[in-house]
């Protein structure tokens, strides 16, 4: 077991280093760092001095190593656009993105799993067919279209909800600010989180449905029925459990993509999060922010993958046995 964890940790670190090197390559070789930082009129002598200061004349490998070390210490340099340390910018915007992603994830689970179970168990009911149709639309519509649609209905026509920003937020300590404690904050959360969750909901619903249908066809379900167990026991004691195990892993992995998709949602709703920051950095070729965001996302994904792997082992007894060397 320990060996397994160690192996996964090592693999994760390897991936992070690889991504770090890519980030470094972007940093160093895409555009000229010096040109980004100084004005056009700056004399060549000064540029050469800055180059020396930044260590740009040292061997590439050393620069890479230094970059990685700095990155580990969360030092990503200074943004070209804002002339502020990148880490400060990211830190300021992280709560907005994480809070939105969290709410959207919870929402998608609470709605998606029951819908999926329902459409599997009551395959031919009208409601199930409706859900199926909706899911096809959910997968087909790009996230930004959904956001715009919601804005049109709820902000323009009905004027119930705000169409941009986070509303009033409450600071919780030096690191966090939350919109969950104010009315305007909650109102602002509604549409963005629904937009972000919708794609997830359809995905989860289809996955749960497919898995459950698959499970309901297995021999052990047939045997459970043949033993006279009630439909409730068969569906919820046996089938649901077996369905949710593979679903957990997929959902966990999707958590990461929610954070990525928040880029779009943040743009539609002018949500002051990391995604918006990243987008601006792309539009303005602000490499330090791009590199830093890349690394952050990678860390997030690697972490999520690791946790999901461990979760899978914890939940499926067959894997636990395999890791321990197996019994008779």
């Amino acid at each position: 077991m320990i060996a397994f964890i160690l192996r996964r940790l090592l693999a994760s670190i390897a991936v992070l280093i690889a991504v770090g090197l890519i980030a470094f390559a972007m940093f160093r070789f895409v555009g000229d760092p010096v040109d980004q930082m100084v004005g056009i009129e700056t004399p060549e002598a000064e540029r050469a001095q800055i180059r020396e200061q930044l260590g740009l004349n040292r061997p590439v490998l050393i620069q890479a190593a230094i970059f990685l070390v700095h990155a580990a210490r969360l030092d990503f340099g200074v943004s070209y656009q804002f002339k502020q340390p990148v880490i400060d910018l990211i830190r300021a915007r992280m709560p907005a993105t994480l809070e939105l992603s969290f709410v959207a994830s919870v929402l998608s689970l609470l709605v998606g799993v029951p819908m999926g179970v329902y459409t599997a168990l009551r395959r031919n009911s009208a409601l199930a067919k409706l859900f199926q149709a909706l899911s096809l639309i959910g997968i087909s519509l790009p996230t930004f279209l959904i956001g715009i649609l919601l804005i049109y209905v709820f902000a323009v026509l009905l004027r119930w909800l705000p169409s941009f920003g986070r509303g009033d937020v409450v600071r919780l300590g030096p690191w966090w600010s939350t919109g969950l404690l104010t009315v305007s904050g909650l109102k602002s959360l509604v549409m963005p989180s629904i937009t972000l969750a919708l794609f997830q909901v359809t995905l989860i619903m289809r996955l749960v449905r497919a898995e459950m249908l698959e499970v309901l066809r297995t021999d052990y379900i047939k045997f459970a029925r043949a033993r006279g167990l009630s439909e409730r026991a068969v569906h919820f004691h046996h089938a649901l459990k077996n369905t949710l195990v593979p679903v957990i892993t997929v959902v966990g992995l999707q958590l990461g993509s929610i954070v990525a998709f928040s880029i779009i949602t943040e743009t539609v709703f002018a949500w002051p999060g990391m995604g918006q920051l990243f987008l601006q950095s792309i539009q303005n070729a602000d490499i330090p922010i791009m590199a830093a965001y890349l690394l952050f996302i990678s860390v997030l994904f690697v972490l999520i993958n690791l946790v999901v792997d461990l979760l899978y082992v914890a939940v499926d007894p067959r894997l636990r046995g395999a890791l321990h060397g197996g019994h008779g």
Partner: protein, 320 residues
């Protein structure tokens, strides 16, 4: 995505026994197509949109990208069928005086070109790498698959965004407008290749051990010949299914990138760019600028998705 790849891996062996053409000729598939009115509708719509896109220079009443022919004086006109509509503009005009209907036709064309181009590129890269990985095995296989696995953990939109950003930064010198097209196709191609590679690799592994391949090797045919002539035709079935479903995704990805402002510029807009422009006018009441491109995009993607669903069910022997 995972499930798709797995299905491709198991569907491939059975599907390889008969060529795509002979299976299409089998009435089963045609029957299943015609028996579902939804699928037929989807097929018709897709066809119409493709036709509209191809013929756009001829059927668009105006050329919205020629500033000389823009009707600045008539900017922000509502659609023809509304109360204040101008009979010249079927769906109204935007803030630059461009006819929305023409803009949609041209935008459709651009969206389909980039979507299709991206999928084609992704297919080319994916199939090539998949064949190599499957046939060569060993280190090559391990490396390619490792890269694929790592890339697969990130959502494609993120990869496309990143590639787009890096490309733009690299090409900072030249004008964004000229390179946007190519950059987008490249970004999409490099984001979507993984699925193809995995499926093709799985099929290649199966085919590699078959008698006809062993025989070809004994005769002394070069690996390239064996792979291209013999293995490639047999792996195209599942590839086609992936391509159709990917097409919808590619269109959405391009639209998203354009919407975010890092795709096609307003001077050569795709549907996504039009929606971006239109969003600014939601509150001021000029709803048509965002409504019609949105509707077009939604219907297009829905139709392609339905076709892809049908194709996947039709080509999957397991579901019979």
């Amino acid at each position: 995505m995972e499930a798709m790849a797995e299905m491709g891996e198991t569907a491939a062996p059975a599907a390889t026994r008969r060529s795509l053409r002979s299976r299409l000729a089998d009435s089963d598939m045609l029957v299943s197509f015609l028996s579902s009115p939804v699928t037929v509708l989807a097929g018709v719509i897709t066809l119409l949109m493709f036709a509209a896109a191809v013929l756009s220079p001829w059927i668009a009443p105006t050329d919205p990208f020629n500033p000389a022919t823009n009707f600045l004086a008539d900017s922000l006109d509502p659609p023809r069928f509304t109360a204040d509509g101008d009979p010249r503009f079927l769906l109204g005009t935007d803030d630059q005086g461009r006819d929305i209907w023409s803009a949609i036709l041209y935008g459709l064309r651009v969206s389909l070109l980039i979507g299709g181009g991206g999928v084609a590129l992704a297919g080319a890269i994916g199939i090539t790498l998949g064949l190599i990985a499957g046939y060569a095995g060993g280190w090559t296989d391990a490396v390619i698959m490792r890269v694929a696995d790592v890339q697969l953990t990130f959502p494609t939109i993120l990869i496309a965004l990143l590639l787009d950003g890096v490309a733009q930064a690299l090409l900072k010198g030249s004008s964004h407008h000229e390179t946007a097209f190519g950059v987008l196709i490249l970004a999409i191609g490099l984001s979507f290749w993984v699925q193809y590679a995995r499926t093709v690799r799985a099929s290649t592994l199966v085919e590699k051990n078959r008698d006809y391949v062993q025989a070809a090797r004994l005769i002394g045919l070069s690996p390239l010949r064996i792979v291209v002539r013999h293995i490639l035709p047999n792996v195209m079935g599942p590839v086609l299914v992936i391509a159709t479903i990917n097409l919808a995704l590619a269109i959405i990805t391009e639209a998203t990138l354009s919407f975010l402002g890092v795709g096609l510029p307003p001077t050569q807009p795709s549907l996504g760019t039009l929606i971006r422009i239109g969003q600014n006018f939601l509150f001021s009441g000029e709803w048509w600028i965002v409504a019609f491109p949105s509707l077009t995009l939604a219907i297009l993607v829905l139709a392609v998705n339905l076709l892809g669903d049908w194709l996947r069910d039709a080509l999957n022997p397991k579901l019979k």
